[in-house]
Amino acid sequence: MTRKLISYLLLVPTFLIIGLFIYYPAVLTFQKSVYRVSPFGNRNIFVGLGNFKTLFTSQSYIQEMWTTLLFVAVTITVGLTISLLFSLLLNEKVPGIGIFRTIVFSPYAISPAIAGMLWSFLLNPVVGYVSYVLLNLFGIQSHWMTTYPAALIAVMVATVWQNLGFNIIFFLSGLQGIPKSYYEAATIDGAGAIKKFFKITLPLLSPITFYLAIMNITFTMFTVFGVIDIMTQGGPGNKTTTLIYRLYRDGFIYFRTGMASAESVILIVIMAIVTFVYFRFVQRKVHYR
């Protein structure tokens, strides 16, 4: 068997599955995006690019794009930084490290809806622990879920919290790949901890960071609707509505299949551009082998 043939065979299962279960629905979505569809699909009106026009001329949709951008940028930057710092700590050989790692991982294992629920409890405007502490220690009356920007911050905190486990697990396994000899050599050269971090750890973690950044984009773009739905329902107004939450509402609460499809198409196109740019300009900086 030639190597070429083997390489194709290795990819067959993956492509079968994504072809049938992701690309096929995606094609249907593209098709539906030019229709106005009744909830049960029994009526369809061809509207051409009408759905797209509606979206791009809608003030709220544009606002939601900015919200999404802000949301993604902040949660990724903050999330990855905290995760990396925590991972360095969790990479130490100290007693009970397994327990600590499991604790830090635990938020990720909770489903987004439940995570949203727990945060709602903590942030309840009157009886939540956070509100209670703020009121009694600092005399601050907090309205986390009903005012802006508090609501957006609350959702961001919950999202960063949820993704910690995911990031840390990969940073940790990435840290395993850095040979000890590198650090030893650096020590002999008289490099301090900070220099070692920037000269050795960070560059050698770059392939995994590259991966994590992309995964975090997809997370914060696509899976936060569960958290948002429980915590703020996109409010106040639509200040915490991100593109995916709007898509979720249009598709599954309002049953506007055509509009939801158009929104999916827009999301896919945006992401395709982001990916292209990212690969073009960022991957070069990634340090392999």
Partner: protein, 439 residues
């Protein structure tokens, strides 16, 4: 060889006889979780035991909107259930779905079922164009729960709760307590930002949400809630929030409930379906819970409240046997005995008159006056186009739009009249988009 033939023959006869005697199996999707879900299963088990020729398979299908999603997916995949429980605001969508049989058909055919035993307020909601489309299953309406213990502490008469908006606001003020630093430690009133309450307050003022008699005589084409009645509601709530006697609990029901249960707010706008749990919370939290009907604005003629909750729809399976079985089951659920059981077990009120009288004669309402208020308020409501409630295709969006408008107003982004106008404009767009599908 012959033995084989004989064996095959026997197996086939057996199979055939099984097929003939096999009971009809129907599928019932519902959205009842928590203790309610257990109650539904109990009822279904009972039905299956008493009806050997029918097997009902009940299945929890998620929240109300998830149940609708699941039904839509199943319809598109060609595998829908026989009966599905759909929330009130899905009524127009179901009528337009092209997949249902209006229950009026069975009511007309079945002489053993007297539709007049169902209370008119309940029938009114699910009737459009003169046809009863679905039958109510879990029915509720909004009430205000109040903390009698805090009422007493504030010097208010716990047995004489406010009935008008001005009295209500007065009570809110008296029930609000600030500490020495000026922070509020107890609020008069709390509520989630829930569009349903707006619709209810419209009905209380006998005002319409939509044209064409709330979409009852023909499809609603215009939202008309930007009127003095609507503005009155927006102004009233805004006033309560801005004057600091009400705390905005945010989206959903849970936060407001927690605040009331912690006795940090003395009054809570909520659904009657919560009455049982509310009383339990009061007992465990050592305070007495009262239930009051929605106060109404002074000087405005009283309409009433709208029935909320969900109803049972029959899907057209083109199989008369299954449809008949489904009708048997729906009819059974609507009958007095089951309604008594359901109502006492859940807090949803019975929609069958005979069930109501039965519960009354048992002395249940005398022992639990809080339950009485929940039913009383609805029975006292006039049956008008306003109190029958609006129906419109994009009702879920419209409800959400009203919620958005309210929170924009609470956050000073818009004045009450701006917010209301904005909501109505949005609603009209939604209506136009939806209706264009059915022209």
């Amino acid at each position: 060889m012959w033995r084989k033939v004989l064996l095959v023959g026997m197996v086939m006869t057996l199979a055939a006889s099984l097929l003939v005697a096999a009971p009809v199996t129907i599928r019932f999707w519902h959205a009842m979780n928590g203790p309610l879900g257990q109650m539904v299963q109990k009822l279904v088990n009972e039905f299956n035991q008493t009806h050997p020729n029918i097997v009902v398979k009940a299945d929890y299908a998620g929240s109300y909107s998830e149940t609708l999603s699941k039904t839509i997916a199943a319809v598109k995949g060609g595998n829908p259930p026989d009966i599905v429980q759909i929330y009130d605001i899905g009524t127009q969508m179901m009528i337009d779905s092209g997949i249902i049989i209006p229950l009026q058909k069975f009511i007309d055919e079945d002489k053993t079922f007297d539709v007049n035993t169902l209370i008119p307020q309940a029938r009114g909601y699910y009737t459009a164009n003169g046809k009863l489309y679905s039958l109510p299953f879990n029915s509720s309406n909004p009430v205000i729960y109040y903390n009698k213990t805090l009422f007493k502490k504030a010097g208010l008469d716990p047995n004489n709760p406010p009935t008008t908006w001005s009295q209500f606001k007065e009570a809110c003020k008296m029930l609000t307590i600030k500490n020495s630093k000026g922070n509020t430690v107890q609020y008069g009133f709390t509520s989630g930002v829930i569009g349903w309450f707006f619709e209810q307050y419209m009905a209380v003022q006998n005002a319409l949400m939509f044209n064409n008699e709330n979409g009852r005589v023909s499809r609603a084409t215009k939202a008309i809630f930007d009127d003095p009645a609507g503005l009155r509601i927006f102004n009233f709530w805004n006033d309560l929030i801005q004057s600091g006697v009400m705390i905005n609990a945010g989206p959903g029901w849970d936060n407001a409930n927690g605040i009331f249960a912690s006795q940090k707010a003395a009054m809570l706008l909520d659904s009657t379906s919560d009455v049982g749990m509310m009383l339990k919370q009061g007992k465990e939290g050592h305070f007495e819970v009262g239930v009051m009907a929605l106060p109404h604005p002074n000087g405005v003629p009283y309409g009433g409240v709208i029935i909320g909750g969900a109803s049972l729809w029959m899907i057209n399976t083109h199989n008369t046997q299954r449809e008949q079985a489904a009708w048997e089951f729906i009819k059974w659920l609507e009958s007095p005995k089951q309604q008594v059981q359901w109502s006492k077990g859940t807090g949803y009120f019975p929609i069958n008159k005979n069930a109501l009288t039965r519960i009354m004669h048992e002395g249940f309402y005398a022992e639990h006056p809080q339950y009485l208020t929940t039913v009383f308020q609805l029975l006292m409501s006039n049956v008008t186009p306003a109190t029958r409630g609006g129906i419109a295709g994009p009702f879920p969006q419209i409800r959400a739009t009203v919620e958005k408008a309210l929170s924009k107003m609470f956050n000073h982004e818009m004045t009450p009249s701006q917010a209301l106008k904005w909501a109505q404009d949005q609603a009209n767009q939604e209506l136009q988009e939806y209706n264009s599908l059915y022209q």
